[in-house]
């Protein structure tokens, strides 16, 4: 039974991966990657890591792939050019892939890891369940856990900066004006601006070209 599930998961994972590479339409590539991720979740369950499998399905196949679908829908397909900067790259690349696969397999299988030929040691029912992973994350690996949260924050800020509309050069001065208008318009009503220094001589006289300056 376990072997059957493994081969189902493995065939799904390999098929999904090949589908990602060979699909002409990026949307089909994303769908193939979702199938690949679900197959990998099956394999994770076979390896008795329930929490990683659940996170794979919920976070990866759910949230991250929705982001991909949005961007594919926004950006469009984008044709692939036939021009190759390196001659024969499309034929050399699969050769390199085969070489990489053989090399990795030989490197792992010829190592002295005796336990590779076993199912691994017998573990209890709690192996890899959310309670065990949560204990590890919040006790032993608390510092890496917090570091990844800071990394996520930095990535979110970076994405906002990257995807923001580029201000033209003549708008360089109007950014400050916009900020001033916003302070004047909001007054002290919003708690976020309560710490701003009030400028009573500029507040009411400024026009409100906020939308025009941003467009």
């Amino acid at each position: 039974m376990e072997a059957v599930l493994f081969f189902i998961g493995a065939i799904g994972a390999i098929g999904g991966a090949i589908g990602v590479v060979v699909s002409r339409n990026p949307f089909y590539s994303v769908l193939a990657l979702i199938a690949h991720l679900f197959s990998l979740a099956v394999l994770f369950l076979l390896l008795t890591s329930a929490f990683v499998a659940a996170a794979q399905v919920v976070v990866y196949a759910g949230a991250v792939m929705v982001l991909y679908v949005f961007v594919v829908a926004y950006v469009g397909e984008g044709g692939e050019s036939a021009w190759e900067p390196i001659p024969g790259q499309r034929f050399l690349a699969p050769l390199l892939g085969v070489a990489l696969f053989v090399e990795l397999s030989v490197a792992v299988l010829s190592s002295a890891l005796k336990a590779l030929e076993t199912h691994g040691p017998s573990v209890g029912a709690g192996f890899g369940n959310p309670a065990a992973i949560g204990n590890l994350l919040l006790e032993k690996f608390l510092l890496p856990f917090e570091a990844t949260s800071i990394l996520l924050l930095i990535a979110a800020v970076g994405a906002i900066v990257l995807a923001n509309k580029q201000k033209s050069k003549e708008d360089a001065g109007s950014a400050a004006l916009t900020q001033r208008n916003r302070e004047a318009g909001d007054g002290g009503a919003s708690p976020g601006h309560s710490a701003a220094v009030p400028r009573p001589e500029e507040g009411p006289a400024a026009p409100a070209p906020t939308q025009g300056a941003r467009a």
Binding site: I14, A17, L40, L47, S49, A93, L109, K165
Partner: protein, 99 residues
Amino acid sequence: MNIAWYIVLSSLLFAIGAVGILVRRSPIVILLCLELMLNAGNLALVAFSREVGNQQGQIFALVVMVVAACEVVVGLGILVAIFRRKLPMNVDDLRELRG
């Protein structure tokens, strides 16, 4: 199933992802192939964690997932910026930063 099967499968998926990065030209598909390679690494981490009977490898896999999410967010932000500036969506044409 032996753990070695999972490791061989993981290296095969990694090789497929590497071929995809080398062959394809669209930045979106290149990011997807990067995901393939990261997931192959995840599979190897979880398989080795099962092999030694220690759950700490699964923590590594979760951290890899977080890093992959960050990479997706920043990469897709760059893609949207490329699209807004009406630049070609082709990694061979986007070679201004090339040394």
